[in-house]
């Protein structure tokens, strides 16, 4: 997803073959974790999230 497009779209992908989730913010920042609560908390912290 191109940063800046789809303002307001937050995406969580479940990486196939693993237990990991990847959160992708509409600003383009990404975060990986294996707990959906952590992923949403991180996504919703925008713009106050660090990229990892």
């Amino acid at each position: 997803m191109t940063p800046g497009t789809n303002t307001g779209r937050l995406r969580v992908e479940w990486s196939p073959g693993s237990d990991r989730l990847t959160g992708i913010c509409h600003c383009g920042a990404e975060h990986r974790a294996d707990d959906p609560v952590e992923i949403w908390t991180w996504l919703l912290a925008h713009p106050d999230h660090d990229t990892d």
């Binding site: 307001g8 995406r11 992908e13 479940w14 989730l21 959906p36 992923i39 949403w40 919703l44």
Partner: protein, 339 residues
């Protein structure tokens, strides 16, 4: 719990509203519905202003309702036009009339203040499309509507609760992608299964007997509208480069999840298909199997409601990857109920 007010809710299927007086409660508000001689659907508060007798248990006189207790008579806009034993009608004698919009064969009611924007109503065009055949129904659920939202946002439970109907082992094993569209207020959950077992629900209705590619694309429009775009095709049958997908079977499953009271819900469901359009046997099969599936959920959620009611608030839950969509849905619902 507070209801999400200032929202559109499905209150009935178009064909349910007719000459009779239909009682239906939405978000704790008792309504009476009927259709005028001109074909307009009307929804009034289901309580007479005099002594609160239910208007749904009263009588019609043309487009008016005559209260079955002492005869207060109401116009379709809720104005009282006659009271017994006197010519003067008290100025304050009126029952609230609710804004109604009929669209895609669904009757929507605005629960809230002022007038709702009809353009905000989500669409389900296949319900009236000649290219689809639809079967549908509605089951009462003795559980809070949030439990049904949770249930439908996570189809992994198909594997366990609906084995033998729509569930196969692959459903719970296939990764999902979740997306929230904050502007549109929609949660999308997608699961694409390749070369998997065909569950009886689809093999018997489509006639496919081998392995399939199965797509599930969910759109949840909080608070209460849910669409599951389901695509089934023999493995290897892909949409063409121009997007043409006419070699696949499409099933549009939908739910209107409508809070009745704090702990009961109207579970409207439908299955629309773009194949075997005139085949009554396929219709009967899809109707009966989907109703069975819905009732399996109803039984499970009714049990869950009892458990929740018996426990103090704030019980601990554990969320895992399959709950990603459900968590997104809950958050959007919380935003709506907090307003």
């Amino acid at each position: 719990m507070v209801f999400a007010r200032n929202q559109w809710y499905v209150v009935a299927y178009g064909e349910e509203v007719g000459d009779g007086l239909l009682a239906r409660t939405v978000c704790g508000e008792p309504l009476v519905l009927y259709r005028t001689g001109a074909g307009e659907a009307v929804a009034l508060a289901d309580r007479c202003v005099h002594r609160r007798f239910p208007l749904s248990e009263s009588n019609r006189d043309g487009d008016r309702i005559v209260c079955g207790y002492h005869g207060f008579t109401y116009d379709p806009d809720g104005t009282c036009v006659a009271v017994p034993g006197q010519t003067r009608v008290p100025r304050t004698a009126r029952v609230p009339a609710y804004q109604i919009v009929e669209r895609d064969s669904l009757v929507w009611v605005w629960i809230g203040d002022g007038r709702g924007d009809a353009a905000a109503i989500p669409r389900a065009p296949w319900l009236e499309s000649p290219s689809y055949t639809t079967v549908r129904g509605m089951e009462p659920l003795a559980a809070r509507y949030e439990l049904l939202v949770d249930n439908l946002l996570d189809l992994s439970h198909e594997t366990y609760l609906h084995a033998g109907y729509i569930g196969t082992p692959e459903v719970a094993q296939t990764p999902i992608t979740t997306e929230t569209d904050e502007e549109a207020g929609v949660v999308h959950v997608s699961r694409r299964m390749k070369d998997v077992e065909c569950p009886p629900f689809y093999s018997r209705s489509t006639g496919i007997d081998g392995r399939i590619d199965r797509w599930q694309d969910i759109e949840y429009h909080p608070p209460g509208f849910y669409l599951l775009h389901s695509r089934i095709a023999p493995t290897g049958v892909e949409p063409g480069p121009d997007g043409d997908d006419s070699d696949a079977f499409h099933v549009e499953v939908g739910y209107a999840i409508v809070p009745e009271t704090e702990t009961t819900t109207h579970d409207f469901w439908w299955v629309a298909r773009d194949f075997a359009l005139d085949d009554a046997e396929v219709s009967a099969f899809l109707h009966d199997s989907n109703r069975t599936v819905v009732l399996q959920d109803v039984v499970a959620l009714n049990k869950l409601e009892k458990v929740m009611a018996s426990e103090p608030a704030g019980h601990q839950e554990l969320s895992i990857n399959i709950d990603t969509g459900g968590l997104a849905a809950r958050r959007m619902l919380q935003k709506l109920t907090a307003r």
